[in-house]
Symmetry: C2
Subunit: 207 residues, 2 copies
Amino acid sequence: MTEYIDLTRLIRDGLKAYPGDRNTILKKSKFLEKDSYNNYLLETGMHTGTHIDSPMHLTDNPNFLYEYPLDCFIGHGVIIDAGELKGDKNGKKFQTKIKDRDVVLLYTGKAELFGSDEYFEYTPDISEEFLNLLIEKNIKMLGMDCSSPDKFPFPVHRKLFSNKTLMIENLVNLDFLLNVEEFEIIALPLKIEADSSIARVIAKIEH
Amino acid sequence: MTEYIDLTRLIRDGLKAYPGDRNTILKKSKFLEKDSYNNYLLETGMHTGTHIDSPMHLTDNPNFLYEYPLDCFIGHGVIIDAGELKGDKNGKKFQTKIKDRDVVLLYTGKAELFGSDEYFEYTPDISEEFLNLLIEKNIKMLGMDCSSPDKFPFPVHRKLFSNKTLMIENLVNLDFLLNVEEFEIIALPLKIEADSSIARVIAKIEH
């Protein structure tokens, strides 16, 4: 049996954007009674809610997100409790856990604070050693249930982007994966001529 | 080896909407040189480009698209050349080809006309018998590389919606699947509080 877990935050009117960006606007634009069909108009930045960052977000990399192969967005998943990162001074703890080309998820437990100042100010403890391990393993994506792995000048973003590693921010439901042995991550962004994109992110578990 | 084929139309500024809706607006909203990061602002209806229709589009069904189980969006694919529908007066030709809970794709060859009047006016020949077969097989989704399976008052939409069958419109690259024996369709819409949603749709082929 195949089970899917949705790791995506719901897009609704007023969804709070990262400080500096505009909140999402989602309005009903056509009405069944009057127009004979329903439709909604969405106005959103590409870094609001659950989304995938590509190097163009912070660098002069010329590739739009749609130019990345689909293989970048789908892969074997591994989850790490961000609380365990703190004691990890050499990344060795995760040497065997993380495999080549994995999608690595960081569970921070902050998802429930979404929208608050605390949520947008929090960043996990990512050591340089851990970051080097992610590069060494050439992971496909680093995902997390918080708004960012770092603050200006964004050393984690930049290091990962230098390796063309993508990032997924504002995930939810990662706690459901904490005790799952094997799962696949399918993280599909829009096919869009933009630096990054809002995305639907799910985990696939075979029972 | 796993191969992925992208069946999604590129979202770019000015992407043409179905007559009556507004064309997509996609503008760069933040600039690396000035703002220290890039971002894009997207304004789009939910029925523009490659998208998934749910019953709320044309009926008073109260469920937003995000409320459908993820299992509805992923399934075994089967492709049918729309040219073969015409001679099919009883749906028998496809009785064995279409399996229970398949995702059925109609290849119309019209994708290259996208944006023209001809594109938006075309509808494939879908007989009542064929439609009954889709209901009998309880297919998950009917996808096509044209803008709509029908015109007002939308009998195909309504029949499928009465069975809670979803539809995917404005697909591309379906010709790549015509000679593929086995493939899976992964069609992920946004997780959005709307009747329907723009989506990333891909085919997965195991070699």
